[in-house]
C-alpha cells in the first residue's frame, strides 16, 4: 500500500498552510460539479421514478408503481414485453459486440505489430471510424444494409441473382446489423489499446522464450496475451459502457425497428420519457439501467484503484 504523499518539510507558516490546502482547493469545483450534475441528477431521476410524472416532472410520490409496470410480463426467453425485448437485445448486443471487437482488435494489433510496412497508414484506416459519429455514418450504413440499394443489390448485379442479405429489415436479424456497425466503429479503438499494450511488453521475455525454442503462436498464446490482461479489462469496461449507452446507433440505423425488435434500454427510456409523456416510467427504466451499470463498474473500479496503488 502506498502512503499518500505528505509534505514533510518543517517550515510551518501561513504560506505552507495554503500550500497544503491548495490541492484540495483546486479539485473542489470538480467535486461540487460532480455532486450536483452527476449525483444530484441521479437522485432527481430516482425520485421522479417514484412519482407519476407524465409530460413534465411532478413531485407527488406514488411508490413503486412504475417499477411494477416495468416488470409486468417480464420474461426474457422468449421476451414478451417491450422492456424485456430491450434487455435481451442489450445482452445479445453487448456480448457479440465486446467479443467481436476484442477478437478483431487483438488480431489486427498482433498483425500490425509485425514490422508492417505502412503501419501508420493501416492504423489510421482502422482508427478513423472512432472519429465519426453515427449521425454522420448512419446514412451510409442504412444504405449499405438496405436490400434495395446496398450489398444485396450490388452482389445481385455482379451476377448472383439469388443472393439475399436482408438483416436490416428482418426483425429477428436486425439487431445483428447494429452489431456490425458498432464493431466497425469501435474495434479500431480496441486495436489501439492492444497495440499500445503490446508495445509496452518487455522484449527480453519474448526473446528468452524464443531462445527456448517456443514457436511464435505459442509465445503469443502463453506469454504475450496473458500479459495483456489489464488491457483486456480496460477494453471490456470501455466497450461495455459504449454498449449500455448505445443510442445514436440504434436511432440512426433502425429507430428501434422493425417494430421494436431492436429497442435497447437507452432508446426505450428515451421513447417513454420524452415521446410518450411517461416521464416517470422512463425514469424507472433509467434507474434500473444505472443500477446494472453500477453492479458492473463498482467491482472494476475497486480492483482498478487497488491495482494502480500496488503497481507503484
Amino acid at each position: 500500500m502506498q502512503i499518500p504523499m505528505r509534505n514533510k518539510l518543517q517550515n510551518p507558516g501561513i504560506l505552507h498552510r495554503i500550500e497544503n490546502f491548495l490541492p484540495k482547493l483546486v479539485v473542489i469545483p470538480t467535486i461540487a460539479v460532480a455532486a450536483v450534475f452527476i449525483y444530484g441528477f441521479i437522485g432527481w431521476t430516482t425520485y421522479i421514478s417514484f412519482t407519476d410524472s407524465r409530460l413534465l416532472p411532478k413531485y407527488e410520490l406514488v411508490g413503486f408503481h412504475q417499477y411494477v409496470r416495468l416488470f409486468t410480463n417480464f420474461n426474457l426467453f422468449p421476451p414478451e414485453s417491450r422492456w424485456s425485448v430491450a434487455v435481451v437485445n442489450l445482452l445479445i448486443f453487448s456480448v457479440l459486440f465486446i467479443v467481436l471487437c476484442i477478437i478483431i482488435g487483438l488480431l489486427l494489433a498482433i498483425f500490425l505489430d509485425q514490422r508492417i510496412r505502412g503501419e501508420g497508414f493501416f492504423r489510421t484506416i482502422y482508427l478513423y471510424p472512432m472519429a465519426l459519429s453515427f449521425i454522420v455514418t448512419g446514412a451510409a450504413w442504412r444504405w449499405i444494409l438496405n436490400p434495395d440499394l446496398g450489398i444485396e443489390r450490388l452482389i445481385q448485379q455482379l451476377g448472383f441473382g439469388d443472393f439475399t442479405f436482408r438483416w436490416l429489415v428482418d426483425s429477428n436479424m436486425a439487431i445483428y446489423t447494429i452489431v456490425i456497425a458498432a464493431v466497425w466503429q469501435s474495434s479500431g479503438f480496441v486495436l489501439a489499446l492492444f497495440l499500445a499494450g503490446l508495445r509496452g511488453i518487455d522484449d527480453s521475455i519474448i526473446k528468452a522464450a524464443k531462445v527456448d525454442g517456443a514457436s511464435l503462436p505459442r509465445i503469443y498464446l502463453r506469454i504475450v496475451i496473458p500479459s495483456l490482461r489489464p488491457v483486456f479489462l480496460s477494453a471490456v469496461i470501455i466497450l461495455l459502457h459504449i454498449s449500455i449507452k448505445s443510442f445514436d446507433l440504434v436511432m440512426v440505423l433502425t429507430r428501434g425497428g422493425p417494430g421494436f425488435s431492436t429497442d435497447m434500454p437507452a432508446t426505450f427510456m428515451y421513447a417513454f420519457a420524452f415521446n410518450r409523456g411517461s416521464l416517470a416510467f422512463g425514469a424507472a427504466s433509467a434507474v434500473i439501467m444505472f443500477l446494472a451499470v453500477m453492479a458492473i463498474i463498482i467491482p472494476y473500479l475497486y480492483s482498478e484503484l487497488r491495482g494502480t496503488r500496488n503497481a507503484r
Binding site: 413534465l56 434495395d148 440499394l149 429489415v169 425497428g257 422493425p258 417494430g259 415521446n275
Partner: protein, 417 residues
C-alpha cells in the same frame, strides 16, 4: 451590423405602424418540424407575412421521428423556463401543456378575429384549454387517402379498389404484372396510419371511436379487431423487402415513378406529387381508402403559444392572427396539400382532391364520420398511442397471430392508462 439592421427595421416599422409600447415589433421563435421541401416553403409564407408587419421570425426546426425529436427539445426548453414563443403541438397534448400552466391566453385575438365562427366546433374544442383559446389550428389533413398511379393499374389491368376485397384483387394483378402493389414505409407511425384506416374501413365509425378514441379494451380485443388485424397483415405480402424503415416520401416517390401502384398516406403526400410536377386525376389519382368514403380521419396541425416577454407579445399575437387569415390559409394549405381549417374559404384555388376533402369535411362534421386520427396524435394521450403502436408494429413485423395481437392491444392499453 445585426443590431443596426434590427434598429432600422424597428424604425421603419414605427414609421408605418404607430409605435405603442408593448405593441411594437418583436420576435417570435417558432419550434416546428416542417423541414421537408413543400412544408418548409409553406411555412415560409407565414414568416414573410410576419416580417411584413415588422416582426422577426426565429426559425427553430428540429427534424426527425414525426416531431418526436422536436417534443424532446420543447420539454427541455419548458423546464429550462425558456420555451419558444410558438411550438407545433397537437391534439390532446395541448391539454397536457395547458395543465402545466405555461400557455398564453389567446382569447383577445380569437374574439377580435371571430375564431369561434370561423372554425368548426370539433376543432375549436381541441384548441381550447378550460374554455380558453391557447392554440391556433393551421390546417386540416385527411388521413384516409390512397394515392394511386393509374398507369400502374392500367398496365396490370386492375381498377382502383373501393372495398378491401377489390383491394386484394388489384394487388394480385399488379404483383402479377411485375410491379409492387403497395408502396410501404415501414416506420411505426406509418404502419399505424394504415392500421387506423383499416379500423375505420373494416370496423366502421362507431368501432373506430370505441377502439381508438375511447381505447376501450373490449373493442380492442374483439372479433372485429381480429378481422382488422388480418386485413392489415394481408397487405404485407404486397409490399417490397426494402420497406422497413423507409420514409413516407420515398414510398410516395415509388408511386410517382410508377414502381408501385398505391400508397396509404395522409394528404401531405400530394405535396410530393405536386413538387414532381404531377397533375391530379391524370398522373395520379387520390382515392379515398377502401370502405372509408363516409369517413374523414382528421389530423390538425396547430401551434401552441407560450407565455413570453412583454416586448414579444405583439409579435406572438400577430402570428396567431395571421395563421387564420385567408391569405395564409390559402397559400399554406395549397402548398402543404391540406385543406383550410378556416371555414367558408373559396374552393377555387384548390385542386380536385382538396375540394373533395373540403366537401367531405363539412359533411362528415354533420354525420359524425369526422374522426380524429390515432396515429397522428389527435385521438388519445401519447402513452396510450404508444402502447397501441407498439403492438401494431410488433404484430406487423413478427409472426404474432391476430388473436394474440388483439389480446395484447387490450392489455397494453390497460397498462398504459
Amino acid at each position: 451590423m445585426k443590431f443596426l439592421k434590427g434598429a432600422l427595421i424597428v424604425l421603419v416599422a414605427c414609421m408605418f405602424f404607430f409605435c405603442e409600447g408593448a405593441g411594437g415589433p418583436g420576435e417570435v421563435e417558432v419550434l416546428h418540424w416542417w423541414t421537408s421541401g413543400g412544408e418548409a416553403a409553406a411555412v415560409a409564407v407565414l414568416k414573410e407575412m410576419l416580417e411584413e408587419e415588422g416582426h422577426t421570425w426565429k426559425d427553430f426546426a428540429v427534424a426527425g421521428g414525426g416531431g418526436d425529436q422536436a417534443m424532446t427539445v420543447l420539454k427541455s426548453r419548458a423546464v429550462a423556463g425558456n420555451p419558444p414563443a410558438a411550438a407545433q403541438v397537437k391534439g390532446p397534448q395541448i391539454q397536457l401543456w395547458g395543465d402545466e400552466g405555461v400557455l398564453t391566453n389567446l382569447d383577445d385575438v380569437a374574439q377580435a378575429e371571430k375564431w369561434d365562427e370561423l372554425v368548426p366546433k370539433v376543432v375549436a374544442d381541441i384548441m381550447k384549454y378550460q374554455g380558453h383559446w391557447v392554440a391556433v389550428p393551421v390546417n386540416v389533413h385527411r388521413i384516409n387517402w390512397m394515392w394511386c398511379n393509374p398507369e400502374v393499374f392500367k398496365k396490370a389491368g386492375a381498377k382502383i379498389p373501393t372495398t378491401w376485397a377489390e383491394f386484394e384483387d388489384a394487388c394480385k394483378k399488379i404483383q402479377a404484372a411485375g410491379m409492387i402493389p403497395v408502396a410501404w414505409g415501414g416506420q411505426p407511425w406509418q404502419e399505424a396510419t394504415v392500421f387506423e384506416i383499416i379500423v375505420a374501413g373494416v370496423g366502421g365509425t362507431d368501432f373506430y371511436k370505441k377502439a381508438l378514441v375511447d381505447a376501450d379494451p373490449a373493442a380492442l380485443n374483439s372479433p372485429t379487431m381480429v378481422e382488422v388485424l388480418k386485413t392489415f397483415k394481408m397487405i404485407k405480402q404486397y409490399t417490397d423487402p426494402g420497406a422497413p424503415g423507409r420514409d413516407w416520401n420515398l414510398a410516395t416517390a415509388m408511386v410517382i415513378k410508377g414502381e408501385a401502384g398505391m400508397q396509404f398516406m395522409g394528404d401531405w403526400a400530394k405535396g410530393e406529387f405536386t413538387a414532381a410536377g404531377k397533375v391530379p386525376n391524370t398522373d395520379y389519382v387520390a382515392a379515398v381508402a377502401p370502405g372509408t368514403s363516409k369517413q374523414f380521419i382528421f389530423n390538425i396541425d396547430s401551434f401552441i403559444m407560450f407565455k413570453v416577454q412583454a416586448k414579444n407579445e405583439a409579435a406572438q399575437k400577430a402570428m396567431a392572427r395571421l395563421i387564420l387569415q385567408p391569405k395564409f390559409q390559402e397559400v399554406f394549405n395549397i402548398n402543404k396539400g391540406s385543406i383550410p381549417v378556416r371555414m367558408g374559404m373559396p374552393e377555387g384555388p384548390f385542386d380536385a382532391p382538396a375540394r373533395l376533402a373540403m366537401k367531405d369535411f363539412s359533411e362528415t362534421s354533420k354525420t359524425g364520420g369526422l374522426i380524429p386520427s390515432m396515429a397522428h396524435e389527435m385521438a388519445v394521450m401519447p402513452a396510450i398511442r404508444g402502447a397501441i403502436m407498439d403492438v401494431v408494429t410488433n404484430f406487423y413485423n413478427s409472426d404474432l397471430s391476430a388473436e394474440d395481437a388483439a389480446a395484447q392491444l387490450a392489455d397494453a392499453v390497460k397498462a398504459a392508462k
